[in-house]
Amino acid sequence: MSIAEMANAAAGLAQFSPAPSLLEIGDSFWLSAVLKIAVVLAVFFVVPLVVGYMEHKVMGHQQARLGPMEAGPHGSLQLVADGIKFIQKEDLIPSAADKWVFAIAPGVAMVPAILIFLVLPLGPGIWGVDFELGLFYALAVGSVTTLGILMGGWASANKFSLIGGLRAAAQLIAYELPLILAGIAVALQAGTLSLVGIVEAQSTFFIPGTEINLWYLFPQILGFGIFFIAAMAELARPPFDMPIADSELVFGYMTEYTGIKYAMYMLTEYAGMVSMSALMVVLYLGGWQLLPGVPMPGCGGSGNIFDCNALGVGLGVAVTLGKIMLLTFLMVWARTTYPRLREDQLQRFSWLVLVPLSLLNLAIIAVAKGVF
């Protein structure tokens, strides 16, 4: 019995049959578990580094600089060098800090960021588990990261850290709502919360009365915009980086952190960018499908994107990663372009603009779903 089956059984939803993962090795539970963990950790540690390097370079060139140039060819190993540096640094704990909370807070922030990758489908068959409640799981686990941030801010015994932590909590509450409302609209249209199911639903969604296949991006462009902005705010990415706000709060909740703990927070931020982008790829950009209506080479099944051979799997993973890079590029682009909002503007924007708009979006989708 797999984890998914147990979860489904617990939820009393026996009728959902999860799509099989290619990472299952025969009947061996432990071997498949090890393989899945290895894949998830590889993605967790490698892709954020690539995204980080891309951010360095894109920010550099958008600011008329070159970005890192010395470590590795064109500075491509800069973040590896940074990682080594962080490991070497002294691990300081302020004497007034709440030591245990201070020490585990980065872990509390980082572990959920790893766990999200368990359900994200990166290609045909390339996922840890296909939960029936996949979307719910991803959004719920992702929110736990904020708990780690709040703990760190509280335990540092530093006013800047505390303000940063509280801002993070306030930001999470404000933006979780539009994020979830936009996600619900997708789940409503797809008729499932399973992330694999949503990809499948997109590959078989046609404009009513025609044979034209579309991703959910097009009917739900409003929802995509809301989700994208809310995701940036959740991740505290500029221009929504009030919890860090270098010019006001030194470095927010990370002010007192050094060395490897600091690196864990940073990794969490970049892994969050990757997982949120992967989520958007799944919800709005058709997952690993190359283009709407185009069958994947070497694939069959529903929407011609399942049951792939090696070529199809490789291509599918490449397509997903490419879309993730595109979305993270958009986040970096927004970062270089816009100045940081004020805290009250941030709150006002969420409650007075995004929440009503996401409710409107949900209503439109619900009505449309009922009509067609």
Binding site: G60, Q62, L66, W333, T336, T337
Partner: protein, 396 residues
């Protein structure tokens, strides 16, 4: 802007700005790999030309940080002439600048009255140990080699101070030599004509010599007719004669001077450069500015040499004839002016910037900095020229 465009357009424009910038070349200078192109007056490090320093202590006293350390002792120089007074001279023992304290205000370079301190654009002398930022005399002297040559003068600018002074001095010596020659000539003449020596000669020593004793008949007759005594009429007529004669001689001299330009130093259009020299210097890796300045000098030199050669061929006869025509001692003083005139002009035309190539090469070969070699070669050239004039004077 917000009033003229719908909301959100500004946000999109912002995205446009950053994405456009992304595809423009970055302005970053890859410093340790690519050296910066610094302007010549960059304040990098202070160089000391210790042979110029007279230990006047001005720099050390004016330095706002008091970071210049000077030690010296006095030496007694024996009198130059027998029975003269012994003089003392300052000898520089130590000259150090503490660049850990220096704030690069440039006041020391500014106040040094003897051109002993210079700015060099060199800036890569950071140290792991703060003590090493105290640069002693030897190190400060080494920086001298990195001091760029002074910027080229504008066209038609006055010659630089030291060169102008040297020319002035050369001219004065020439004047003195000429005066001496005239003195001798007159003395000789006076010796010859002693019996007949009239008061006129004594009255106008510097004027061209005139045979005294003659009288101007016209003036004499007029005075007699006016009823003056014979004595008065004679003496006045004598004076009139001298005046007239002098007038004639002067005119003659002027005519010669006007004819002289044939022998004068040829004038050359400045601004052209010698392409060959330029290419060669560029190939040697010199900066374009330096190469251009040198190539200009080379062009002027070449051109002058050519013109001079032509002039010698064409005007050789005149140059020989001119003095021969004057002949007698009477003309000695008159001749000095025209023949000296071209040489004086000679210095003024090419004095600035002309260097003695031989000296220059020798100094460069002995490892001196270009600047020093240049200034010494310049001095050597002026000295040589002076010598030549003295020789010419002696011949005359």
């Amino acid at each position: 802007m917000a009033t003229t465009s719908p909301p959100g357009v500004g946000l999109l424009k912002g995205l446009g700005v950053t994405i456009k910038q992304m595809f423009k070349p970055a302005v970053t200078q890859q410093y340790p790999h690519v050296k910066p192109d610094l302007p010549p007056r960059t304040r990098g490090v202070i160089a000391l030309m210790d042979e110029n320093c007279t230990v006047c202590m001005l720099c050390s006293r004016e330095c706002p940080d008091w970071c210049i350390y000077i030690d010296s002792h006095k030496e007694t120089v024996p009198p130059a002439k027998e029975g003269g007074r012994a003089r003392t001279r300052n000898v520089l023992d130590r000259f150090a600048i503490d660049f850990a304290l220096c704030m690069y205000c440039g006041i020391c370079v500014e106040v040094c009255p003897f051109d002993a301190l210079f700015w060099s654009p060199e800036f890569e002398y950071s140290e792991y140990d703060i003590d090493k930022l105290l640069h002693e005399k030897g190190k400060l002297r080494e920086w001298m080699d990195t001091v760029p040559p002074p910027p080229a003068l504008d066209e038609g600018a006055d010659a630089p101070g030291e060169v102008a002074t040297a020319i002035e001095k050369a001219n004065q010596e020439l004047e003195a030599a000429k005066a001496k020659a005239a003195e001798e000539a007159r003395a000789k003449e006076q010796g010859e004509q002693a019996p007949a020596a009239g008061d006129a000669a004594a009255a106008a020593p510097a004027e061209p010599e005139v045979k005294a004793g003659e009288i101007d008949q016209e003036t004499f007759d007029r005075l007699i007719a006016e009823g003056k005594s014979e004595r008065i009429a004679r003496s006045k007529a004598k004076a009139a004669y001298v005046k007239k004669e002098k007038q004639r001689l002067k005119e003659q001299a002027e005519q010669q001077a006007a004819a002289a330009p044939a022998a004068e130093e040829p004038k050359v259009e400045a601004g052209e450069i010698d392409q060959e020299t330029f290419d060669q210097l560029i190939a040697e890796g010199k900066s374009e500015r330096m190469a251009r300045a040198k190539a200009k000098a080379a062009y002027v030199k070449k051109q002058k040499a050519k013109l001079r050669a032509e002039a010698e061929q064409a005007g050789g006869g005149d140059a020989v004839e001119a003095p021969a025509a004057e002949g007698s001692g009477e003309a000695a003083a008159g001749e000095a002016a025209p023949s000296a005139a071209p040489r004086k002009a000679d210095i003024e035309v090419e004095g600035a910037g002309e260097i003695d190539q031989e000296t220059y090469d020798a100094l460069i070969a002995s490892g001196k900095s270009e600047r020093i070699a240049r200034s010494k070669a310049k001095a050597a050239w002026v000295r040589k020229k002076k010598q030549e004039q003295m020789d010419a004077e002696g011949d005359a």
